[in-house]
Point group: C2
Chain length 218, copies 2
């Protein structure tokens, strides 16, 4: 089978639009995170930083490593999600065969659904790393590329939400896994709210760094 | 030049991560919207609707047409954004040549930046259509595919935000264009908030349709 990332990008979009069950939302979420990671890596790798301070270089180098690692994982997850969901479809088909044992079919479906939950959970995790790297890129990266860094962040956020949707639909989550995911989602929401607030409400104020003078009123 | 959508999808991601100025955030925003449109179209085209009511079929057919049209526009915009930004880079280079007339260089940069603002504005517009189609797909589409419809919606939202970032960085917007964009962004934010709220806070309650009984208290 040709891997999804080997398809021409336009054809990949056609595959998402097709009535076949895969690739679906889980693969799209991973792709979105991978696209965000690519933009963030581009900004972090630029020689110019916001202020030119040496600690900014170190922070951007760290963020670059996160973005690259998360991006690599997300690329793999595009394919893994499709494979996991294909297995779910196969398990349900198996269950329809008259000779299938009731217990065996239940076990096959449960195992496939568990895998189809683990994969988007991994996607959510990697997307959160993209969001964190994006925050560093927005705060300390080349200001001329801030729109790329922010776009990378919102793509990471979209991947996080999409992955969470896919976890939720494939699983009645055990309590602790749901809590873990909720905490991640909440962290992602906080990050993304800060992205959007500055976009729609105010101007592009550079993030105040620890050394800068606090604003006083009155 | 090979069009970006003809590149293998993995290579397209590499191009976004590369230090070259294009493709950048504007193309990524358009791609994200196109990916969202594909998922939404997939859900709207499914024979099964939420309740099976005939008016749901009509609403999904309309949403399918929106998603397809917006998706086609967004695919074209992936390339157009890269072309528009390449022209900005070329105009700045032209301006550095010693024989360039001061007035001519200013005009060339202004024209290129205007185009590099119009393209992401068109992207924002098409992404908003994707969001609206996603809302229909979530409300009236096959409940088994609700995660695909929601993922499509959040990808449309990411495209809208990313496009807005690119408009903002390329232009000191005329007042009325800014107001238009703000209204769109606000509409997108309302839609996306409803997506996220139901995801992280409550259950998947089906959207109340006009014919359903209003809730009364006391």
């Amino acid at each position: 089978m040709t891997s999804l990332l080997e398809l021409p990008a336009g054809e990949l979009l056609d595959r998402f639009a097709s009535p076949d069950p895969t690739p679906g939302g889980g693969s799209a979420a991973a792709f979105s995170g991978g696209l965000g990671a690519a933009l963030v890596a581009m900004v972090c790798a630029m020689p110019k930083t916001r202020t030119g301070a040496p600690e900014e270089r170190a922070r951007l180098d760290a963020a670059l490593a996160w973005a690259r690692e998360a991006g690599d994982r997300l690329r793999a997850l595009v394919q893994e999600d499709a494979r996991a969901y294909d297995a779910v479809v196969a398990a349900y088909r198996l269950a329809k065969r008259p000779d299938a044992e009731k217990a065996a079919r239940k076990a096959a479906i449960a195992a496939a659904l568990a895998r189809a939950t683990d994969v988007p959970l991994a996607t959510a995790e990697a997307c959160l790393v993209v969001l964190k790297a994006a925050q560093e890129a927005v705060a300390h990266g080349n200001p001329n590329a801030v729109s790329d860094a922010r776009t990378g962040g919102v793509l990471g956020f979209a991947g996080l939400v999409g992955a969470a949707e896919n976890v939720r639909i494939n699983a009645a989550l055990p309590w602790n896994a749901w809590m873990r995911l909720s905490r991640k989602a909440a962290a992602g929401r906080r990050l993304s709210v800060s992205f959007r607030f500055r976009q729609f409400r105010g101007g592009y104020r550079p993030r105040r760094t620890p050394g800068s003078k606090p604003q006083t009123s009155g």
